[in-house]
Symmetry: D2
Subunit: 338 residues, 4 copies
Amino acid sequence: MIIVMNPEATKEQLNMVIDKLTKVGLKVHLSEGSTRTIIGVIGDKRFVAELPIEAMDGVEKMVSVTVDYKLVSREFKQEDTIVDVAGVLIGGNHLAVMAGPCAVESREQLFQSAEIVKKCGAQFLRGGAYKPRTSPYAFQGLEVKGLEMLAEARAKTGLRIVTEVVDVESVPVVSAYADMLQIGSRNMQNFQLLKTVGKTNKPVLLKRGLSATINEWLNAAEYIMSEGNYNVVLCERGIRTYEEYTRNTLDLSAVAAVKNISHLPIIVDPSHGTGRWKLVSPMARAGIAAGADGLMIEVHPNPAEALSDGKQSLTPENFAITMQEVSNIGKIMGKVFI
Amino acid sequence: MIIVMNPEATKEQLNMVIDKLTKVGLKVHLSEGSTRTIIGVIGDKRFVAELPIEAMDGVEKMVSVTVDYKLVSREFKQEDTIVDVAGVLIGGNHLAVMAGPCAVESREQLFQSAEIVKKCGAQFLRGGAYKPRTSPYAFQGLEVKGLEMLAEARAKTGLRIVTEVVDVESVPVVSAYADMLQIGSRNMQNFQLLKTVGKTNKPVLLKRGLSATINEWLNAAEYIMSEGNYNVVLCERGIRTYEEYTRNTLDLSAVAAVKNISHLPIIVDPSHGTGRWKLVSPMARAGIAAGADGLMIEVHPNPAEALSDGKQSLTPENFAITMQEVSNIGKIMGKVFI
Amino acid sequence: MIIVMNPEATKEQLNMVIDKLTKVGLKVHLSEGSTRTIIGVIGDKRFVAELPIEAMDGVEKMVSVTVDYKLVSREFKQEDTIVDVAGVLIGGNHLAVMAGPCAVESREQLFQSAEIVKKCGAQFLRGGAYKPRTSPYAFQGLEVKGLEMLAEARAKTGLRIVTEVVDVESVPVVSAYADMLQIGSRNMQNFQLLKTVGKTNKPVLLKRGLSATINEWLNAAEYIMSEGNYNVVLCERGIRTYEEYTRNTLDLSAVAAVKNISHLPIIVDPSHGTGRWKLVSPMARAGIAAGADGLMIEVHPNPAEALSDGKQSLTPENFAITMQEVSNIGKIMGKVFI
Amino acid sequence: MIIVMNPEATKEQLNMVIDKLTKVGLKVHLSEGSTRTIIGVIGDKRFVAELPIEAMDGVEKMVSVTVDYKLVSREFKQEDTIVDVAGVLIGGNHLAVMAGPCAVESREQLFQSAEIVKKCGAQFLRGGAYKPRTSPYAFQGLEVKGLEMLAEARAKTGLRIVTEVVDVESVPVVSAYADMLQIGSRNMQNFQLLKTVGKTNKPVLLKRGLSATINEWLNAAEYIMSEGNYNVVLCERGIRTYEEYTRNTLDLSAVAAVKNISHLPIIVDPSHGTGRWKLVSPMARAGIAAGADGLMIEVHPNPAEALSDGKQSLTPENFAITMQEVSNIGKIMGKVFI
């Protein structure tokens, strides 16, 4: 942490800042420049964060030089984490694909989807039983019935189930049915929910918030891990920008960034990330080429009949083509479907 | 709702779209242009939203011409809503100010704050007992102890208490102490929480999400109102943009927009909105001049000692000046402190 | 300037950085922390900016603690600048309003507009003779004919003329007719154009770029001033965000920020800033309350007949009301129409 | 174009709108809904754009259903355009790489760079002779001397030269030396410059504006093409968002989008797009996987000595690795270096 004093700061003001820092056990190094003095603070950054330094007289600003999180960082753990989801591995040289309809709508729709997903080589069936929706009047999901159908589909196909948990209350029931708990974008900073899934032993798929910085996202993962659950997989799903052609702007540089900063696996959701099925396959390829460990893709036996997000869902034919393309890129990246 | 067909759409594709619409009871009007056909859909928009029209062959896009929400809209209720918070009114020709520290830190800090707030003419004491924080290692609030102190401060000063409720679990306990429940930015789309406060009889202060559109914000209010609680006050607190000088970009045009679209009262938080105490007073004045019904301002007896957000808190002296300035602007706008 | 070394940086890497800095005459102060070393650099920041420090081995990042510009800053000049535009003053306790149609369309339209503008007490007539348009097929302005009409309108009414100069070539001709040269948003970083108007003796109105930071905007003003023309007035006109209800997001906190950082006058354009005439009056009031020195407003004798931007233009009646409201707020702010 | 009337619009208001449209030769189709009437407009959209429909009484909004540009669109030209730059082809199954230093700094630096670029198989040498810089005090390029050095490097290596033209004045001199003219981000809507390069016979590389929509970008290309120069290559280089980890957010979905909408070739600049050399290689791979026709990459013989952008430049070693990786992805995409 660095504290930059005003050009007009007095000696007394400087001393008061130094006092405040040293009182809590921090050490300081001074750099006296031609126009201003800079204080380098040495010690646990969290202590500084708690102090109201920036409101003190004579202080211009405080600059952070280290990060907040610890458990998620590569400095904490050098080697890539590989998350085991009921026997299927995510991370390392494994390529994982989670596919299925946006929402579970009916047994028939789900089972048809599951068959397609299985046939094309993906390992996970996705499908929302609980759907967070902007309007209170929109379809909110089949809830427990949807969970039961997902479990049935697993029994039939052997696919692992990943599905969203939208609130603290439903963590137990979703955990009872799913192999992996998904935290959606809107809940990325629902800290109570993060802590709750952090206390389960289920692997967690943590989607990036609609306009979360990479730093906030990693801190959200830290919330989960700080409760003891280290099985976290990140999912880039597009951020909110001014661009209107796409539903969101898929930020693939976040994939490369996360690979540098953290040891956690990361996958990409090109369906929500673009909102247009024609862009799904190019962005799926690009995601893997950027270094992602897998994909989450919306597939529907008949997108034109989907109750939600039909516009961004792939047909079975296009999904098969996408899987082949992704597999080819994956091989070059040293990642394969197992 | 309007459906725009592709230039290459066939007659069969057009008929399939029309079929799908008429089957659920909607009516259609066709406009056949020189290059493409446009379908005007007549009937309840929600039915269309449920249909996967955009995924059908031949469809280029679907354009919404009406909005999702109903109860929050001025079309539903023409006259301004005035919310009664334990006898203090928000909306109409009333000017409401909620002030106090970011977080409740100690009995002394809170009581000193309350005295300042009271003395300067504000009607509400704000202060966080539960604090949602980006990092799991940051100060998370005094919780129930903080609530007790807030209630004590109310007993001493007669100020109304507004404080944040961060999860479903704590709604009962916060409701037991507070006069008004605040939903913070990060929870604006925590739908379970919205529904839960919608079932209480406490007035709700709904902050705009970090990067929520006005439309999403009003839909969040609709979630609360659709459960029966009509006492909702909106709070603009800045949106996330690329600008780095300010913590957020305070969007005062949202105040004017909300006044056009909705009957609900709206206040402005220039403290979080700018993140710099020097900008608080100008933006407080501007907010009232834009038509806001009140303000939420961070005040601290000694900002340099604050455990959080000291940088954006006003000193007692500056708060007194701000209140005077705001009062002057308020008079011109026909709004007074009562 | 502060240089933060990696935790793994070697002594040799540190020495190479120090060498590079001292060779160009800079001084360094070291802060050796528990995990990393920080170098405080003392001397002219521009020298550091030229050095590729961040690409050197062992360097994690470089943090700027001072700003790039000089002439625009309040540190350079304490007192408010007042710009004299052919006898009308902008800045200090003067309230300036520039009003008129988006584009000069015809003699009749312009003269009617000028009369309204004059009658309501504004001092400047605005109107585009050269129009930068997104599409090459849209109306691009009447050019020299438009300038002639503007000069005629000045002769009739005594209003000062402010109009946009869109390229280097037309600076002489626009300067021959106008009292003040406007640099539009799209040209805020057209550096050749900035330098060219910097060499004239005409006052310049510099609009903020569509997504320019305050820092970039002030640097653009510095380009003009560094050529010798100190008569620069800034104009906040909204920035690009994800919000779709308004055409842009009018950033009034930039007004307060500029007042802190710079001595230059600043006005607000609520017409382009919101894109909706219903929001113009509230945001005009708010702009003045935030501390702006004036306004730029689109007025049209008959908005429904306007060739461009009719949607955001005020009718004569609404402009008269707005001027009254603005005047009332101005008085409280100690600013009056002269 | 669709016009949506207010629910309260009168029959007279509707008729006035229809009148205005039919007078200029447009045809209308009415859809009378339960709450409002919608007018479908048939005919040349540009006529409608010129009319101030949205300011007319009774009109709620106008919705565009077709795009502004023509020459750039795939509807206008189905097959991919292949641009010939002095014998090197961009587009189709060709993979083009433009590499070199951000700025031409010295003969030695440039020639070393050119050798590396040539040796690794790229076909174009890039390097700025004119540098647009945020601050007037930053290094602005060697100008004509830089151009001469670029031409010398071409003579030595056979590489094609692509370099930026920053204003209308320098178009002739840059055209005399360069094989391809680059329009930088800040000039994407410098319409006079676009028209000027549109009148030359030099191929143009058009970078996306800092916060340009895809639609605005394609319209900028339309400006060039509407002057007769059809040899336009687009370059995605990152857009401005709230994310602070990367310098910009590289929007690879724009590559896939452009491929759908337009026939023009598109390349990706991962150096400016990310601002961090560690992210260049992953994003180069991802760009090609998304369907791009090539790359623009900053390479410097010694990034730590670069006068600008050293932080994002690749070393010769890393560039060689990147070229190999890109070549592997290119093969899968059916694109090869020729």
